[in-house]
């Protein structure tokens, strides 16, 4: 280094970008990097961006759950909070333990075979440590380790799962009727024996199916008949009692997983779980003996719903790759520390991106808002046989708006004494802002191309390195030169699939308990389509600024099916049409399926009581009546290319490009769409990717220090 700092242009401001910037701006680098973040629109966060609307309402892109295995993400946030505390800003941002609280309850629904829904409550045990702690000495991630933990999980489910409020089995003697307990135990013994036999025969049948069609046909038929007989016995004698079914399904899936691990030699395969990543997750389980019943279980469906694992957003096409699916499941259930999940105190923008923005500004990182990338310029094409690599020569942006004062845009607002992002840009800070507001400029819409100016950055002058962290859906639109030249990038944008999502939030004047929902579960999955996943967010309402505070708010989210043909770039009304679709879906959902969970939300005629929606700052009776009252709530369609949720599909790991990839001299990539070691659409995958991008540009952090990067 010659004393001049290296100029790094970071394109995008989501989790991956923040992780990369956090590493590159560490004081340990001694100012080696001069970093500028170029962000479309007015706020950081990417898919995790949130804003404050009227009454200080938190308005999210969707439902964000931080799982207890997000070690890298938590480590970053813990450091961030410590740094702010040391800077005297602890009063504002608090400790990280104030920002996240532990949560171990999950409720899952299954579609009852006899109509309606059944609810399954599970309480995960607390585990040692806290997310982000250094790994205990000698702890390595291995399939063997996980298999041992699978037994513990089975026992936890056996002992702690309740269905409709009733436990399975209570060895502590708290069960009222002793004879019931003994009967339960006797049945449990019988269950274990027959279940094992059914699994064993099922396994033989599935293995014989795989041998080939002719010589084993008779044997296969025999084994399948025997297996079906055993399963039928279980289902009529055991599963007729609904309390048992959940346990049986989870046991079936756990056994199929263990069988698959052994059968595919995953304990020793150097490819780890990538060795099975060409299989679809449910196909893999089926191959290894899981019953069709278990493959349709709420447990599995909840995982698919949470991962939005539906090709094209189509409920009838569940699609997740087996390797990453299993990796995610193992990490989720056996890799968490402290609590299974961690609730954010307020919006993700407030809890994650406002502290990061504040701390990074203090470190000297520059932020250029309203910069939408339109092209990545490349060095001239090389003659065939030239061993050198391409490099980025220019970055071209639409400057969507310019600060009126000539100074940097100030993006944070204050709500209840906390710095927050706004749901809309502060037009008063912008040149011509009044006109832009009047004309309804949407500065986050892919289809709204209005701009104030164009700006081109040049290599060596304005930047040296580039970290491209936009969503993968946006890559074809901003990297045309790269895609035209680079087959690997074309393959990546084709093979790494994304889905649109839909979300809505409501604020209620009555709490869920009084509406008939028996808490205390935090997140509810595998519920009715289209909004299969929802969450009681009562804990964030005190962070809002209502004159009269609603009793709770509830967030819903799910995939949004794609149209047969993707929208054209000039289809300006597309986002509004999809948002209207979400509004209709949400209203219909409240009028229909949520009845199964919130019986008290309906009047004597069976109609949804729209008056329980908090409207207006008073949160009371003002606002429209009837279904139109829903229009005072919040909903959105996440259809922007960069907002689309990344899923992992069979074999796509081969097409993902690593941030470490050296195809371009001065370019790295980051995002949950890259080969991050944890190729899944989540905060942790994005953060790991950002850490890799920082490592690619600076050599730090060491790959060994990225928790669970070296993972089967």
């Amino acid at each position: 280094m010659d004393g001049q700092p290296i100029k790094v242009a970071v394109i995008g401001g989501g989790c991956a970008a923040m992780a990369a910037v956090w590493e590159l701006s560490r004081p340990e680098h001694g100012g080696r990097f001069d970093i500028t973040v170029y962000q479309e629109g007015w706020r950081l966060g990417g898919k995790g961006a949130s804003g404050r609307g009227s009454s200080g309402r938190i308005e999210e892109h969707g439902l964000h759950i931080w799982l207890g295995f997000y070690d890298n993400a938590f480590r970053m946030m813990r450091e961030c909070h410590s740094e702010l505390e040391a800077a005297g800003l602890g009063d504002i941002f608090g400790d990280w333990r104030d920002a996240w609280t532990e949560e171990n309850s999950v409720a899952l629904f299954s579609v009852a075979e006899r109509g309606g829904f059944e609810r399954w409550d599970t309480h995960m045990p607390l585990r040692a440590g806290l997310p982000g702690d250094p790994l205990p000495a000698g702890e390595v991630f291995s399939v063997t380790y996980y298999m041992g933990r699978a037994f513990d999980l089975f026992r936890t489910l056996l002992l702690d799962t309740t269905v409709e409020g009733r436990g399975h089995f209570d060895p502590a003697g708290e069960t009222a009727d002793f004879s019931d307990s003994v009967r339960d135990l006797a049945r449990l013994g019988r269950f274990a024996g027959v279940a094992a036999l059914a699994e064993a025969v099922g396994l033989v049948a599935s293995l014989l199916r795989g041998v080939g069609p002719t010589p084993a046909a008779g044997l296969t038929a025999l084994a399948e008949q025997a297996c079906e007989g055993l399963r039928a016995w279980l289902e009529t004698r055991w599963l007729a009692d609904d309390r048992r079914r959940f346990m049986w399904e989870v046991a079936d899936l756990a056994l199929a997983t263990m069988v698959g691990v052994i059968r595919f030699g995953l304990l020793t395969d150097p490819r780890g779980l990538d060795a099975i990543d060409d299989y679809e997750c449910r196909e893999f389980l089926r191959l290894n003996g899981a019953s069709v019943r278990a493959l349709q279980s709420p447990f599995l469906r909840g995982l698919f719903d949470l991962s939005m694992g539906y090709a094209g957003g189509d409920d009838n096409r569940p699609m997740l790759s087996a390797g990453q699916g299993l990796r995610g499941t193992l990490r989720t259930f056996f890799g968490y520390r402290g609590a299974f999940m961690w609730r954010m105190r307020a919006g993700m923008g407030d809890v994650v991106f406002a502290p990061l923005y504040t701390a990074l500004k203090r470190r000297g990182v520059k932020f250029e808002f309203f910069h939408r990338l339109t092209n990545v310029g490349l060095s001239p094409a090389r003659p065939p046989g030239d061993p050198s690599r391409d490099w980025v020569t220019s970055l071209t942006f639409d400057v969507q708006a310019r600060p009126a004062s000539g100074e940097a845009y100030s993006p944070l607002m204050e709500v209840s004494g906390r710095p927050c992002w706004s749901s809309r840009p502060d037009f008063t800070q912008l040149e011509d802002g009044e006109r832009m507001a009047a004309e309804g400029w949407d500065l986050e819409s892919h289809w709204d191309r209005r701009r104030a100016a164009e700006r081109t950055l040049t290599v060596g002058k304005d930047f040296d390195f580039v970290a491209l962290t936009v969503g993968v859906g946006a890559v074809p639109h901003v990297c045309r030169e790269i895609l035209a030249r680079d087959e690997r990038w074309r393959r990546m944008t084709q093979d790494v699939k994304t889905v649109a999502s839909q979300a809505f939030q409501i604020w209620l004047t009555e709490d869920l308990d009084s509406l008939g929902w028996q808490g205390p579960a935090y997140i509810t999955g595998a519920f009715a389509k289209p909004f299969d996943t929802w969450c009681d967010m009562a804990h964030v309402v005190p962070e809002e600024a209502w004159a009269k505070r609603p009793r709770t708010s509830v967030y819903f989210c799910a995939v949004l099916p794609d149209p047969p043909e993707p929208p054209r770039d000039d289809d300006k009304d597309y986002p509004a049409r999809r948002a209207e679709e979400v509004r209709r879906n949400a209203r219909a959902f409240l009028e229909g399926p949520i009845r199964a969970a919130w019986t008290g939300a309906y009047d004597a005629h069976g109609r949804f009581r729209w008056e329980i929606l908090a409207a207006g700052d008073g949160g009371g009776g003002e606002g429209p009546c009837g279904p139109e009252r829903f229009d005072t709530q919040y909903w959105r369609a996440n259809v922007n290319p960069s907002d689309r949720y990344v899923i992992h599909t069979p074999g796509d790991f081969r097409s993902r490009i690593s941030p470490l990839d050296m195809a371009y001299d001065n370019l790295t990539v980051a995002g949950d769409w890259t080969d991050s070691g944890f190729s899944s659409g989540c905060v942790e995958g994005a953060v790991m990717s950002g850490l890799l991008a920082a490592s690619a540009l600076s050599g730090s952090p060491r790959l060994e220090d990225i928790i669970a990067y070296d993972h089967p």
Binding site: P5, T144, V211, V259, R301, R317, G460, S698, D710, P712
Partner: protein, 261 residues
């Protein structure tokens, strides 16, 4: 960092080829296989010194499962006998009942966990034994999608969504044919035991009604089965009766059959 001709951060390069170059990474991807090799046998610990092949191991696991199964019953009996003896000798106080009950349950719970572990062991050994067979390639096995969940009965739309398939069987088989193929789905969660059919009365004539109609749930189809017992000499013709769910006052529909000549 290395550069070509021009260091990063300097003034604009005169030579357009001058640009900063990222450092070469030490490696390009995760190490997926570490941690597995050294202790691969940990999953099925060989602390008991077993070194036999999978076949012998399976036999042992089966034996262990049976052994534990017997232990469950033996333990149960033993505690029962102990309590009975103590009671007959006047040494047993009723105050001990809750404590004894708790201990028994705990012990049985422990044994049942062992039994479950043994069951897992059997499956493990079987999988190990058969792991040499080549699995089918990806994409060859079809799996049905998840059951769609649109909510409770009231939330479903359209008559098809409300229907509950019913398959009618006859004892003796072939004694008649079904005229009903579906009923209305119960509005509330209802177990099969809560669904009953009224006696099937003849449409005309004075033949006795068919009183034995068993309703059950058919897991394969997701619908109901109705098994109608037809007494010998029952008059042919059409018979029908309402099907009721204990959870509601409205019948789910009418079950109609026709007995052959």
């Amino acid at each position: 960092m290395t550069t070509r001709k021009k260091p990063a951060g300097a003034e604009p390069p005169a030579d357009p080829a001058a640009h900063a170059v990222r450092p070469e990474p030490i490696r390009m991807g995760p190490v997926r296989g570490t941690g597995a090799q050294s202790n691969e046998s940990d999953l099925k610990s060989d602390a008991d010194g077993r070194t036999e092949g999978p076949l012998n191991a399976i036999s042992e696991d089966v034996a262990q499962a049976v052994r534990v199964g017997y232990e469950v019953f033996t333990e149960n009996l033993r505690r029962g006998r102990e309590a009975a003896n103590a009671f007959s000798q006047g040494e047993y106080s009723l105050g001990q009942v809750p404590q004894d009950a708790g201990q028994t349950l705990n012990e049985l719970g422990r044994l049942l966990k062992q039994l479950t572990d043994s069951s897992f062991d059997i499956v493990y050994r079987l999988a190990e034994l058969l792991s040499t067979l080549k699995p089918p390639p990806p994409g060859q096995s079809s799996v049905p999608p998840f059951r769609s969940g649109s909510g409770d009965g009231a939330a479903r739309s359209g008559p098809a969504a409300q229907a509950l398939a019913v398959a009618v069987r006859f004892t003796p088989s072939g004694a008649g044919r079904a005229l009903t193929s579906s009923l209305t789905r119960p509005r509330a969660q209802t177990s099969p035991a809560e669904i009953k059919a009224s006696p099937l009365a003849p449409r005309e004539g004075g033949a006795p009604s068919l009183t034995e109609v068993a309703i059950d749930f058919d897991i394969a189809s997701g619908g109901l089965t109705a098994t109608v017992s037809v007494p010998q000499g029952q008059a042919p013709g059409v018979y029908s009766g309402a099907v009721w769910a204990a959870t509601q006052d409205m019948p789910l529909g009418v079950l109609a059959i026709e007995l052959a000549q």
